[in-house]
Structure formats: structure tokens, C-alpha cells
């Protein structure tokens, strides 16, 4: 981030990652827009950030699935933003795969939130990035998108679609100087992962936020976090399909 005044729009700001990231960029003086569905909770975070870091913070209600309201949402963003806009999106849903093996509504919600919600919003935000000098669009995807696993493939496939979309968006906005970053986190210590069996080396939201901000500064395109997940996924991706299909990971 340069000395230029920055505004950061945090999509999914009620999550611990969203909160930590917002605090991390607020520390550096950015204006903050907190977007999400739990208004009371977002207000709490807004006050916390204002008091701790002395930056202006505003709360906007946002529902990824409510596509019709996205235009209005962008208007509010434009009213509040000063200087350059940056986006950090960290919302997703992950119903259990067992449920999604038969429940189409859950599948639809997963696709709507994790994929279409982002595509709808980013499409509408693109003109802002075309007009401004630089800025970052940072999206929390998942290592689950690297390969379809028996245990998590609906969720994984929405993340795979998202990764492909972001790769294209990166190319499309390159000429405008926009930095589009895809984050593929492994295990992070969040409400989503709390109590899940088989977790190891989980990173705290604060550690994650610090690492993300560092990677943004370096202009990374795709980032595995923690870094060793790059190695794990390289191995998983290299397993031939005829063997992989027999594995229950």
C-alpha cells in the first residue's frame, strides 16, 4: 500500500478473518467499510476499530445472495470511499458434504454465495477499478478448489470456479494497474474450523491478516497460506485420477 489514502471494503466482516484484516489495514490508516449481514455485530467491530486506530469506519448491510441489491450497495460504497478503493472478500458458506449429496437448496446457496455473489459484486465494482490508479482486490478462496475431494467437492468446486474467475479478472484488470490476489488458505483458526477433527498447524486470524497484508505489498497473485500448503496441494494435485478416486480424503 502506498502513502495514498486507501479505503478498504471488507466483505464478510463479521468473521474473525474479516475483523483481523480490517484491524490490520486500519492500523496503517485506511478508511474502513464493513459489509455483512449481522448489523449489530458489525457496529461493534466498527466502534472497536474507530477507538483503537482512530480511522473512519462505516457499516453497510450486505447479503451476497441478494443480487438485486448489489447496485445499491455499490452506490453506498462510492459515497463513503475516499482515495483508492480496495476490496477484501472473506465470506463463504460450507454446508456438510453429506447434506449436499442430496439437498439441492444447500448446493444452490453454496454456489450463490461462494461464486455468484462474488462475481456479481466484482462485475459491478470493475468500473471503479478501471477509473482509479491501482488498488487491490483480495479474495479468500480455498485449497479445496485445487482438487475435487469426496469429502468436500461441492464447496471445492465453487472455489475452483472462483479461482478461474479471479485468474481471468486479474488479466482483465492488469492494464489498469489493479492487483487481484487469490488467497488459498489451509487451516485457519476460525469459527468455521473450530471443533473440526484432523486440523493441524492452524494459523490464528491475526497471523493470517499480517501475512495477507505483507503479500499485498509484494503484489502476489496467488498465495497459499500457511505457505507449506503449496507443497501439500502440489502433491495432492499430482496424484493420478485412477488412484485419487479410491482415496477418501
Amino acid at each position: 500500500m502506498s502513502k495514498m489514502q486507501d479505503t478498504w471494503l471488507i466483505l464478510g466482516a463479521s468473521s474473525s478473518i474479516g475483523r483481523s484484516f480490517a484491524s490490520e489495514v486500519a492500523k496503517k490508516g485506511a478508511r474502513i467499510l464493513l459489509a455483512g449481514r449481522d448489523k449489530d455485530d458489525l457496529e461493534r467491530t466498527a466502534h472497536d476499530i474507530e477507538i483503537r486506530y482512530g480511522v473512519p469506519v462505516r457499516v453497510i448491510l450486505f447479503d451476497a445472495q441478494d443480487f438485486e441489491k448489489h447496485d445499491l450497495f455499490i452506490q453506498v460504497v462510492e459515497e463513503f470511499m475516499v482515495g483508492r478503493l480496495n476490496v477484501f472478500a472473506c465470506f463463504a458458506v460450507m454446508p456438510p458434504q453429506d447434506q449436499m449429496n442430496h439437498d439441492f437448496e444447500a448446493i444452490q446457496q453454496t454456489v450463490n454465495v461462494n461464486y455468484l455473489g462474488i462475481v456479481s459484486l466484482y462485475t459491478k465494482l470493475t468500473p471503479i477499478f478501471e477509473q482509479q490508479d491501482g488498488g487491490s482486490i483480495v479474495t479468500l478462496s480455498s485449497v479445496a478448489g485445487d482438487r475435487g475431494r469426496k469429502k468436500n467437492f461441492i464447496y471445492g468446486s465453487t472455489k475452483a470456479a472462483l479461482n478461474t474467475y479471479l485468474s481471468g479478472l486479474r488479466a482483465r484488470l492488469h492494464e489498469f494497474g489493479t492487483h487481484v490476489m487469490t488467497i488459498k488458505p489451509g487451516f485457519m483458526d476460525t469459527a468455521m474450523s473450530w471443533g473440526h477433527p484432523g486440523m493441524f498447524l492452524v494459523a490464528s486470524p491475526e497471523e493470517a491478516a499480517t501475512a495477507f497484508v505483507k503479500a499485498i505489498k509484494k503484489g502476489k497473485d496467488v498465495m497459499y497460506f500457511p505457505f507449506f500448503w503449496w507443497g501439500i496441494m502440489t502433491i495432492i494435485k499430482s496424484i493420478p485420477e485412477r488412484i485419487f478416486k479410491k482415496m477418501s480424503i
Binding site: S16, D38, D40, D41, T45, H47, D48, I51, A191, G195
Partner: protein, 443 residues
């Protein structure tokens, strides 16, 4: 919301407890967890930093909520010093955020790692009790989630019964989700401490009572190994704010390595340490400028100093005794420790000014004594003897530090327990909120 199986101990680390733990990040999560526990008919307890020494923060075979992620500052008025925050905020954080604006917590326990939630529900006291009372005296309102999953805001004006049951309520009235309280003005970030030798228990208590409220802060250390005419000797620290700020940056605390043997604190090392500690202060006394946080949190330099007591952990006994019986009963308590050949370097004496606002508040006008005991085969007996002495002399045992007291003695010491139970019963009909402590003393 999901639960996770965890094992943990309180600060005394005498017993490891297994629980199902939830970790809410917002009020909605708390409600969700409360409703789940009610449906499962499983006891629930919110916990803070687990700096309680005994079983106040334990909930064996039941559910707990780790409140660490609910740690936001919700409101702060830099002119009046009124603050609202979530319960997971720690005392250290309040110092880091507000001391340079000349505000500090109104009352703080001897560790900066304790949380505001823990401060409310144990109605904690500090080194300024004579002047400022305990934490509960500074609270305007508390927001909590009750066992029906409803959000309630309680104060002296609204639901006063629940307000007074929640202050010092040991987490048994609900899950606190916000607290509004008045901060204290801190003109500078340092204190001028006057260190004085006290030769014996009589002089000590005389001085404490005579100087009551004359200084902003006051706390004394007792050399538990001293006997005979030196019984109860120690060092008294009396402090006022310094006139100017001093350079201070809190260092990350050091960790006690795992390899330190469990007998690091025994009678011999204690005797050597205590002797040095006592003679460090010259006979004529010593004046010194000390950073406020260092003065208030002398033990926090070592993150896990409780390890020094080894694998079996340790006990702390803290009691308060009315002025009138203080000298006699404290002499007896120290005597009981000598007879049992038990001592430790940590022995603290302070005066207290008045009763607290909570039904089960520990403070009363008198003298309070806190003693650490290594966990040996003799320890429990000594502690029970002390409880007997305290009960006979009209005193009280601090529940935040206890895991030994029995129901009958508890009731004798806390005559308002019935009011407390009536209030708890009327708001928590299903008795959802419960802890290892509450089941032990039948609260």
C-alpha cells in the same frame, strides 16, 4: 455452532479438567451456544483467561464458552472516561489503549492478563481498595445472555437483583456480552513507591490500618519463613502517582521453561529468597519511581510462573478479616503454617475499605491475606485449619482463589448466599449456568 473437546487447568493447576468448549465470536454465537446447551441439558459456564486459582473457571464434564474472541471496545468517552467493552478485553489491553490518554481501569487484580468478564464475576479488588472499592463499584450496566437465550441489560435501576447477583456472581447468572464502567484518572504512567520494612505482624497491621486510604495504592509482602518476634515481618509498599511520566515499554513476558523441576519452590529456596527480598530494602526505607503496570503486575514478567510449583500445581488461600480480629487471626494463620512446615515466597497483605456491590462479593472492611501453598500431602489440612480460623473470627475466603471450602463454611462466610440463590433460581430456572465450584459449594 460447534464444540471442541479441550482439557485445561485453572491458575493453580492442581487438576486438569475436560470439557466441550465453544468459542463465540459475537453475541449471536453466544445465544446459539446457550440454546444448544439448554437443549442438551448440559451445564454451561463462560470463562475468561482462567486466572482464577481454584475451580471457579472449571466446569468438569460440561460445556464452557471461551470468551477470548469477544474482545472489542464498544464505546469510550475520552472526556468522562466511561467505557463499554466486551468481556474478553484484558486489563493489559486497557492500559495499552488508554494510559497515554490518562485513563486506567478503576480497579485491577494483580495480573494484567485477567479479563473484564472475570473482573465482574469475581468482583475483583486491587491495591486501591480502601479508596476505590472493588470492580463492581464502577459498573453502570452489564449486558448478558440468560439461560433462555435472551439479551438483558441490567443495572442498579433495571433488574437490580440480577445486577447484584451478576457482580461477583461467578458466571452463574448468564454469559456477559458487554460491560459499561467508569475508568480511573491516571495523571501519569508511574508511581512513586515508598518501600518500608515492617518488623512484625503487630506493627504491620497497625501501620496498615493507620495509613488506610492515605495513599493511592498500598500492598504488603510477608516473609512467611520468619518466626518468633519476627513473625509477620515484611515489606510494605505505599504509592502515589508520580508527578511526571517515565519512559516505559512493556516487554513480552518471559516463559518459564518446562525443564524447571517441581521442587523449585521449597522451604529452603523460599527461606533464601525471602531473606534477600526482605533485606533488599534498607532499614530506613526506600523511595523509587516505578512504571504503573510494573507496580500493579509484578509477577507478569513471567508468563507461566505457576510452573515453578511443579506438575502437582499449588493452592492459594485468600481471606479477609475484620480490623478487630485481624492481628489475632493472622498470627494464628501464620502459626498454623509454621506448625505444618509449609511456606512459600508469595504472601500478600492489604487493607480493604468496604463491602462490595455483589451478593457474593468478597471484600469487607478489614485486612486481607493471600498465601500460596505448594501442593504437598499436608497442604489441604492446613488450608482447612485456616478456614476454621477465618470462619471463627468473622472473616471470609475469596472464592476466586479457592477449591477447598465446604458448603457449611461457605454459607457462614457469605450470609447473602440465599438472596443470591433466589435471584439465580428466578432468572435461570433450568439451572443451566453452573461450575465445578458452584456444584462443590451447592450454589
Amino acid at each position: 455452532m460447534k464444540w471442541k473437546n479441550i482439557a485445561y487447568t485453572s491458575w493453580g493447576a492442581t487438576t486438569e479438567t475436560e470439557v466441550q468448549a465453544g468459542r463465540p465470536e459475537r453475541v449471536r454465537d453466544v445465544i446459539n451456544y446457550v440454546e444448544q446447551s439448554a437443549k442438551l441439558e448440559t451445564h454451561l459456564l463462560a470463562i475468561g483467561a482462567c486466572k482464577s486459582y481454584g475451580d471457579a473457571c472449571l466446569n468438569e464434564d460440561a460445556n464452557v464458552l471461551l470468551m477470548e474472541r469477544m474482545n472489542r471496545i464498544l464505546d469510550f468517552d475520552p472526556r468522562s472516561g466511561e467505557i463499554t467493552c466486551e468481556p474478553g478485553v484484558t486489563f493489559n489491553e486497557l492500559f495499552e489503549l488508554f494510559l497515554d490518554k490518562n485513563w486506567m481501569p478503576p480497579v485491577t487484580p494483580g495480573t494484567g492478563y485477567a479479563t473484564i468478564g472475570g473482573a465482574v464475576t469475581n468482583d475483583v479488588h486491587g491495591k486501591n481498595h480502601d479508596r476505590d472499592g472493588s470492580f463492581g463499584d464502577h459498573i453502570k450496566w452489564i449486558e448478558l445472555v440468560n439461560s433462555k437465550g435472551e439479551i438483558m441489560r441490567v443495572s442498579a435501576r433495571k433488574h437490580n437483583d440480577l445486577f447484584r447477583a451478576t457482580i461477583a456472581g461467578l458466571g452463574l447468572t448468564g454469559v456477559i456480552t458487554a460491560v459499561n464502567f467508569q475508568m480511573k484518572e491516571a495523571p501519569t504512567n508511574a508511581v512513586l513507591v515508598r518501600y518500608k520494612r515492617m518488623n512484625n505482624i503487630k506493627d504491620y497491621i497497625d501501620r496498615l490500618i493507620k495509613a488506610r486510604g492515605q495513599y493511592e495504592f498500598s500492598v504488603g509482602w510477608i516473609d512467611m519463613t520468619a518466626k518468633g518476634k519476627n513473625l509477620g515481618r515484611g515489606i510494605l509498599e505505599e504509592a502515589n502517582f508520580a508527578d511526571t511520566n517515565i519512559e516505559y515499554k512493556r516487554l513480552e513476558p518471559k516463559k518459564i521453561p518446562k525443564i524447571i523441576p517441581g521442587f523449585a519452590i521449597n522451604r529452603l529456596t523460599t527461606k533464601i529468597f525471602n531473606n534477600r527480598y526482605y533485606h533488599r530494602i534498607p532499614e530506613k526505607g526506600l523511595d523509587k519511581f516505578v512504571p504503573l503496570q510494573k507496580f500493579l503486575y509484578p509477577l507478569d514478567n513471567w508468563k507461566n510462573w505457576n510452573r515453578l510449583y511443579g506438575k502437582k500445581g499449588f493452592y492459594q488461600m485468600q481471606c479477609v478479616l475484620p480490623d478487630k480480629t485481624a492481628e489475632l487471626s493472622i498470627t494464628r494463620i501464620l502459626g498454623a503454617c509454621h506448625t505444618a512446615k509449609i511456606s512459600s515466597p508469595l504472601a500478600v497483605i492489604k487493607t480493604m475499605g468496604s463491602e462490595g456491590a455483589g451478593r457474593l462479593s468478597f471484600p469487607m472492611k478489614g485486612v486481607t491475606l493471600a498465601l500460596d501453598f505448594p501442593n504437598t500431602s499436608r497442604t489441604l489440612n492446613v488450608i482447612r485449619n485456616i478456614h476454621e480460623i477465618v470462619a471463627t473470627h468473622g472473616g471470609r475466603i475469596y472464592l476466586a482463589k479457592d477449591n477447598v471450602l465446604d458448603t457449611a463454611t461457605f454459607r457462614k462466610m457469605y450470609p447473602n448466599y440465599r438472596d443470591f440463590m433466589n435471584t439465580k433460581d428466578s432468572y435461570d430456572i433450568i439451572n443451566l449456568f453452573s461450575s465445578s465450584l458452584s456444584r462443590r459449594i451447592e450454589l
